[in-house]
């Protein structure tokens, strides 16, 4: 068996590669957004695309998110496959009306005649010391809007595979990029990218028997760390990476919970009205007789995102996850 020497790549590089390959494969793929051209994006994800494909394919737009997404809708109506970059989670809100009123509804209101195959890339979440308005977890807004796929990678390989799949999808996709993972490295071979599978499947990142941590995006690494630390407590935790919040993979999640009998949902988004409530409800409805304890949530607090010097108190960490695991009614077992 030969092993290929693979240099570590960052998630940002994998995303760049995905955009590049998608643009090379399909002349209809156009990238547009603020600073995506000459600068290569504030996170450098679009680095080199304007030089390679020209400014008509990778376009610096005026600074107006509703206009960026609104014009992308028109481009998709004409048969192009736009990939829009919103510079930060909290700067995407001006485009929300276009998302809710048109992006998500166009296929439905035209009975399938006018699908909108466009991808909205949004850097999201905290942990990078960003000042106000740079660290929101906005996934719950998008999840609550029918007609969208909501996808978020947690690994370098998934960043490539899921972005390619999102761009290839004939449905609009909100592609949430965990900011704090942009510079995370992994051995990933850009010459042999992982096969691109359709969005909508979760994956078990770590097998275990005691309880399931259900998570996604920026919280996966924290959960993996927590699972390692839990061994000292005698817990063997399973970790499920959702990868896609919409469509939601009930099958993989529930199969795991039925095996372990206990579950904790972990995310940065606030708990009230956040994704964890929906996930806990779905798991409870489907796995009630397999559950040894209520499904718990470890989430950000229900507060506006904190200033950078306080954000570590807000973000779910290993200790908070282990505390939750400890509250999963283990007494009954002994």
């Amino acid at each position: 068996m030969t092993t290929v020497a693979v240099k570590p790549a960052t998630m940002a590089q994998a995303l760049t590669r995905a955009l590049r390959d998608a643009m090379a494969a399909d002349p209809g793929v156009h990238v547009l957004g603020e600073d995506v051209g000459t600068l290569g994006g504030v996170f450098r994800v679009t680095d080199g695309l304007a030089a390679e494909f020209g400014e008509d394919r990778c376009t610096d737009t005026p600074l107006a998110e509703a206009g960026i997404l609104g014009t992308a809708v028109g481009m998709a109506m004409y048969g192009l496959r736009p990939v829009v970059e919103m510079q930060f989670d909290a700067f995407a809100y001006p485009a929300f009306e276009q998302v809710v009123s048109h992006v998500t509804k166009m296929r439905n209101r035209t009975r399938g005649k006018m699908p909108l195959p466009l991808t909205i890339r949004i850097p999201y979440g905290g942990g990078i010391g960003g000042v106000e308005h740079h660290s929101d977890s906005s996934e719950a807004y998008y999840m609550a809007t029918p007609g969208l796929h909501v996808v978020t990678p947690a690994t370098v390989a998934d960043a490539y595979g899921l972005l390619r799949a999102s761009i290839a999808s004939d449905d609009p996709v909100v592609f949430l990029e965990p900011k704090r993972l942009y510079w995370s490295k992994d051995t990933w071979n850009p010459e042999e990218p992982a096969p691109v599978e359709p969005v909508g499947r979760a994956v078990v990142r770590r097998s275990g028997r005691s309880a399931t941590l259900i998570t996604y995006g920026p919280s996966l690494a924290v959960c993996m760390e927590a699972a390692e630390a839990a061994r000292a407590e005698g817990w063997d935790l399973e970790v499920v990476d959702l990868r896609s919040l919409v469509p939601f993979d009930d099958e993989t999640v529930c199969a795991s919970v039925r095996r372990t009998g206990r579950a904790v949902v972990v995310h940065e988004s606030g708990s009230f009205g956040g994704p964890g409530g929906e996930i806990a409800a779905r798991v409870t409805e489907r796995c009630f007789h397999h559950l040894e304890a209520p499904v718990l949530r470890v989430a950000g607090f229900d507060i506006p995102y904190p200033p950078p010097m306080l954000e570590r108190h807000h973000l779910p960490g290993v200790d908070r996850i282990l505390d939750a695991v400890g509250r999963l009614q283990w007494e009954a077992e002994s």
């Binding site: 809708v73 028109g74 998709a76 005649k113 999808s169 469509p247």
Partner: protein, 387 residues
């Protein structure tokens, strides 16, 4: 060199000379709305075009009356009438080539119909059996947009995409005076001008955004003046003068097609009817004002011009009215038939493939429908061919 010496050597760099980026003068609208009918310009007008416009206006007026009547018979949930604005609606459709695109707002079903869309399909939204009743690609008409001005950036994006593909396509986007206050109006005009997209923006200034008059909407000298700030020409036209609207829009379309970029056209008109059949216009405006505008009626203006020039006789007027009656009778007959409804359609076309969750919900509704049918409760519900 010491710090002080450096300071002594310092000479402030003068700022670069300021240059105006665009000469605003050619972008400014005329002082008065452009008119053709009743002026010398009418001498040069294409008489065939005038006759066509007249027949279309008569038909358009009848369409508005018929659609309004259908609300009273419960066949339409609501109808935002364009009575009094027919010249704009008709001209917007007529100035476009088949390959061009129209982006209507919710008040523009007449423009949609004038572009060739079946009236029953154009009115589906307002009947309420689906949202968009027509295939947008068949006549290149975007879905009627209810959220104000949100369709304008679509027109810009589509026109830009066509240009990138090397296609000779112009997009004409329609919006009202109220819509010009929306952020999407600003963003669309800005993008269009920066990209020099082949788009024509037609603002029908009909005096009111539901109840709010224009002076509470904007302090701009005119809506057409807004164009100047974006670096595109603004044109002001009498929106009840069909020949003038046709001329100004044709010029704008020609300019866009030739690579000259976007134009903002303000057509000054009046919403003779209330906002919709559900609105009471007497709460915010007086009859005298409406009467003034009725005396400047687009159908009568053109009829008078054509009659005085001997281009229209009694026979031609009767023919136009008969044609309009035929259209109305057909629309009435077809709208009086109950639409076919299938509740399970609700789950189609949310996504290319329904998610597992939507399949579950579809099964749930199917079971509810079956139970309803079994208990006989379905007899009270509208007919539908359940799958």
């Amino acid at each position: 060199m010491t710090v002080m010496e450096q300071r002594g050597a310092y000479r402030p760099t003068p700022p670069p000379a300021w240059q105006p980026r665009t000469d605003p003068a050619p972008l400014l609208p005329d002082a008065e709305p452009h008119r053709v009918l009743g002026t010398k310009a009418a001498d040069r007008a294409d008489t065939e075009l005038l006759r066509t416009l007249y027949a279309r206006l008569v038909r358009g007026r009848r369409y508005n009356a018929q659609a309004t009547a259908l609300t009273k018979q419960g066949r339409l949930a609501v109808y935002p009438s364009s009575t009094g604005q027919e010249a704009c609606e008709i001209a917007a459709a007529l100035v476009l080539e088949e390959r061009d695109w129209l982006f209507p707002s919710y008040r523009d079903t007449l423009a949609v119909v004038s572009r060739g869309v079946d009236p029953v399909e154009a009115l589906t939204l307002l009947r309420g059996d689906w949202h968009t009743g027509y295939d947008p690609y068949e006549h290149r008409v975007a879905p009627l947009s209810t959220p104000l001005a949100t369709q304008l950036p679509h027109a810009v994006g589509l026109a830009h995409a066509a240009r990138l593909k090397g296609d000779d396509v112009v997009a004409l986007a329609m919006v009202g005076d109220g819509g010009t206050s929306e952020g999407d109006f600003h963003e669309a005009l800005n993008f269009a001008a920066v990209w020099q997209a082949p788009v024509v923006f037609l603002v029908q200034n009909n005096g009111f955004a539901i109840s709010v008059p224009l002076d509470k909407q904007t302090a701009a000298p005119s809506l057409a003046h807004k164009a100047v700030g974006y670096g595109m020409p603004g044109r002001l036209v009498d929106g009840n003068d069909a020949a003038a609207v046709h001329e100004v829009l044709s010029d704008a379309v020609r300019r866009a097609r030739a690579g000259g970029g976007p134009t903002l056209v303000e057509a000054v008109t009046y919403r003779v009817d209330a906002h919709t059949n559900a609105d009471d216009a007497t709460r915010y405006r007086g009859d005298a004002e409406v009467e003034t505008w009725r005396r400047h009626d687009p159908v009568e203006l053109l009829e008078r011009e054509l009659t005085e020039r001997g281009l229209l006789d009694e026979e031609a007027i009767r023919a136009a009215r008969e044609d309009a009656e035929t259209m109305a009778a057909d629309l009435r007959a077809r709208m009086n038939r109950d639409p076919e409804l299938d509740p399970l359609d609700l789950f189609d076309h949310v996504y290319a493939e329904p998610t597992p969750q939507l399949r579950e919900q579809r099964d749930q509704l199917r079971a509810e429908l079956a139970a309803e049918a079994e208990t006989g409760a379905a007899t009270a519900a509208p007919e539908g061919g359940h799958r």
